[in-house]
């Protein structure tokens, strides 16, 4: 069954179609949640909330865009709301740490990273760094958009990304050695 057929049936509150759609997208979306939220339990809570919103608002989906992208945006927003609610989204900038970074050093890696390793690397980052890194590198948002989403300044978003990369570099060094 295609996405569009499923969407059509979900609009009519068809329980089977909802289950089918959930099974199709829930694993990917839990992966998205896990990139933002380290606790699996919390990530699953966020998934439930986000998927409920997906089904509740499915009639608002414009069929012109990607359905997966639409769900992903809802999931990301829900994850950010969760972090904000739990006050985990602190984006303190440590100036001294920022000054000590050699910006010219590129991130390097000697072996291919598997998805699980990426998740492990992300888990080692503080929530603020991880969130900005996720939004910028993986979701492809611009700093101006991230600043708006997280209610921070553009410079804070940029510095968080630099610090995230630096942490990531250190973690990769550990992984390489």
């Amino acid at each position: 069954m295609t996405d569009y057929e499923l969407i059509e049936r979900c609009c009519q509150q068809d329980a089977k179609a909802q289950r089918f759609l959930y099974e199709r997208y829930a694993p990917k979306m839990l992966g998205v949640c896990r990139r933002y939220i380290s606790s699996r339990e919390d990530a699953e809570d966020v998934l439930v909330e986000a998927m409920f919103k997906v089904f509740d608002n499915i009639q608002a989906f414009q069929s012109a865009g990607s359905f997966e992208g639409w769900i992903r945006r809802i999931v990301v927003n829900e994850a950010l709301m969760f972090l904000r609610k739990k006050r985990l989204l602190t984006v303190d900038t440590d100036g001294s740490e920022l000054n000590s970074i050699d910006h010219a050093t590129p991130l390097s890696i000697e072996h291919e990273l598997a998805a699980k390793e990426i998740l492990q690397l992300l888990e080692h980052l503080p929530t603020g760094y991880r969130t900005v890194f996720n939004l910028y590198v993986i979701e492809g948002y611009k700093h101006i958009e991230i600043a708006e989403m997280l209610h921070i300044s553009i410079n804070t978003s940029k510095s968080q990304l630099i610090l995230a990369k630096e942490r990531m570099r250190r973690e990769l060094e550990k992984l390489n050695s």
Binding site: Q13, A26, L30, R34, F52, P106, G140
Partner: protein, 196 residues
């Protein structure tokens, strides 16, 4: 590996980041969906019949309000307009006054000096220049007659009046709220103020 490549790798690999939720997660979601579905069903759909009734009532109210407003505006316009049309008896002939109001009057005086036998009075009042002569509605059974040197309105009975005019006499017809006066005479003299 270039930094850009690493970002690309992150981007690519993150797509493969798939974790299967516990079965219990779906049950929690299902519970919420079921309760939401029930809530939607409980929301009583408004009957079409009642919608029609409500729309009709609303329409009646709107039409009533609009016609009331229009009538009031119309009255206000009439009040703002010239209230009188003048008819003058000159050289043995009735003629209407100049200007726009006179265009609205159909006036014909076959009788040169005497207008007699007023049969119908559908106007509310007549005002006569200088001195006042009121003729009220027939229904009120009261006719106030004022005589001056130019006019005499002689009451024969409740239905019949004799109106005497002399040279240079002028009658001013006051416009009614409906904007219409009709005056009929037995001997073919009719002057009508038409609604504008």
């Amino acid at each position: 590996m270039e930094e850009k490549d690493l970002f690309d790798l992150f981007r690519e690999e993150s797509k493969n980041l798939v974790e299967h939720p516990q079965a219990e997660t779906w049950h929690r979601l299902e519970k919420r969906l079921v309760s939401s579905r029930k809530k939607r069903q409980q929301r009583k759909p408004v009957s079409t019949h009642w919608l029609v009734v409500a729309a009709t009532i609303l329409l009646i109210i709107i039409v009533g309000v609009v016609s009331w407003v229009v009538t009031r505006e119309h009255e206000a316009i009439l009040r703002g307009q010239k209230q009188f049309a003048e008819l003058q008896f000159l050289q043995g002939k009735w003629s209407a006054s100049e200007g726009k109001m006179s265009d609205e009057l159909i006036f014909d005086a076959k009788d040169s000096t005497l207008l007699r036998g007023i049969k119908t009075l559908t106007f509310k009042e007549i005002l006569v220049k200088k001195d006042t002569l009121w003729i009220q509605n027939k229904g009120k059974q009261s006719v106030f007659i004022y005589k001056n040197q130019h006019f005499t309105l002689k009451k024969v009975d409740n239905q019949t009046f004799v109106f005497l005019a002399s040279e240079g006499s002028t009658i001013r017809l006051r416009k009614s709220m409906e904007g219409r006066f009709t005056l009929s005479f037995d001997e073919g003299v009719i002057f009508v103020y038409k609604k504008m």
